[in-house]
Symmetry: none
Subunit: 192 residues, 4 copies
């Protein structure tokens, strides 16, 4: 009951920001959609910017938690990589709103660079570790880690974009497999 209205505001903002964009969404419309008064929004968030920032961090954290959940250190690297990729894709397809939100705002100047960086490190941090372990084990190609990380991120965004635009394809196994296969090939050493 304490966080009821605050959560309602976050939910409404997620939908509206994603559908209309940050600037095109008025705080009044968010409040209305959340079923609260305009003042209430500003009781919980210092400003519209602060609302966006908190929303972004919240969503990003949710994905991060999800992806790290089933990692097992005893499994092989390929297995773990596939698990992370698959979990991420499924989360994105189960939460299209959130993925579209993320897709849109991870490049937008509406979000302050600090928040963007903070959110990125939260998710990409553990991925970086995975890559490094793989390189040491010789299972991952020996490209510069920072470049690879950015590339992985780019492929993940592209894949979710594609399947969100063409949901029917997600049901076809060779599409699912191709998406991961392409990703995996790009980061593994050239033979095998």
């Amino acid at each position: 009951m304490r966080t009821d209205k605050k959560q309602a505001i976050l939910d409404a903002a997620l939908t509206l920001f994603t559908e209309q964009g940050y600037h095109a969404t008025s705080t009044a419309s968010i409040a209305k959609a959340a079923g609260v008064a305009t003042g209430t929004l500003f009781h919980h968030f210092a400003s519209k910017d602060a609302l966006l920032a908190e929303l972004f961090l919240t969503v990003k954290q949710e994905l991060a938690v999800e992806m790290q959940a089933g990692l097992k250190s005893e499994s092989g690297l390929r297995h773990n990589a596939h698990h992370v990729w698959q979990t991420g894709m499924e989360w994105a397809l189960d939460n299209p709103q959130k993925q579209l939100f993320f897709q849109q705002f991870c490049m937008s100047p509406a979000l302050s660079p600090e928040i963007r960086k903070m959110a990125m490190e939260e998710v990409l941090g553990f991925l970086g570790d995975l890559l490094l372990q793989g390189q040491q084990a010789g299972e991952i190609a020996d490209f510069p880690a920072d470049l690879m990380l950015e590339n992985c991120h780019g492929q993940f965004l592209a894949a979710t974009r594609f399947f969100l635009d063409n949901p029917a394809r997600w049901q076809q196994h060779h599409y699912q497999d191709a998406a991961f296969q392409q990703f995996w090939q790009s980061i593994t050493p050239i033979h095998n």
Copy 2:
């Protein structure tokens, strides 16, 4: 002399939209930065939206022209792929403003979907042809073409993002090579 002011407006808009975002940039500030009166902007563009659309198409076309310039049908596929990739990267690094602009607006709801689609097909069209030829020749992996195209786009965006953020890396050959290598591995058949 005829298009002097129009060009000045386009230039100013490019910079301001990129730095501040579409909605955060007022037409008045664009006019001021371009050294013209507020009214002048509306002599050359029907609306702010129209200005953005024209700017986006202009920039996109510039990149498309650049990338297709040196293609030679008699060269091998890998050669041509590398040429396209390299040309694209160099254009992006030579025109950071434009690349950042593109990066930002190709996902933004500020741009109408029609314009976005129009621009995309202009660039990705010829790339799609390239991929198809490659698959028929067995030089490109047999993944679904639409998925691959999206993935290529994603990797290109990721690479430019990386090198624009870390310009010094572009001078290091192993970074340049790794970027292309990762891309190339992801689309070629399993290396045996």
Copy 3:
């Protein structure tokens, strides 16, 4: 303990109203500065207006009490006049916050005219009596009483304003003397 919080609110309001003005000071900021919850303010005062009114009357009364304290009917008029002037000045300099508050609000439309008039008569009432006695004794010039009263008030405000702006001057005796001397000359019969 009963009036602890009420007094804290009055104190905080005095400071904030003086520094920022009535309308620029929110009740929330007063409550915060007083260390109480927003609602508490409205348990002790019916409204923000009522808080200002009570504060004004309180401060004004304090000055009135101070000035009348040492009056002795057996002393000469000049002595008593000097006593009142000096006491008033000292109070103002010892309570700069309160004097500034008074200075600001005795002309402001934030205060209802009734409150203003009530407060004025409280202080100026006994001064009017003093002046009248002096005129009857031939020690005070024969100017219209109402005009003189306003003039005295104006000179008092001017003097406190001056010494509050230039505190160091108050240590110089010829400044202190000159202030009173100017006041005294203005109300005594032509010196022959």
Copy 4:
């Protein structure tokens, strides 16, 4: 025609600020009273604060010009002093709105200290010169100049306050005379 609307805004602001106070007057109401759109106000003034500042300086300058108009260096000091006092009083009574405005805002925190100081020096500057000349000629009492200036200002404010509150008194010559006489006595040496 150029300054038509700007002047209308200044006029409307003068009336409304004086009657309701700065914060209690909305920019929308000023625009409405001036017969212009809300946006127009902000086309001519950067902010509500800037409008107040410009208004204050304008009004103050008008008084300053008026008071210095008929000064003649060949006239005696008393003559000039009376001229300045009388001119000031008449201006105040002819422009009650402006005098009330000034009365209210010369102490209000709504006005920035810099603007206040600037305005004061404009008016009080030449008065300071007059006083100094008088002291050198032995016609003005030898009180500290800065203190005297503040005192003169205070008496002027008090007198205009009185006559604006009691307009009928201004028709009675002994009231007019008494006001000046009190002022004059306060600044002249003790005998004569």
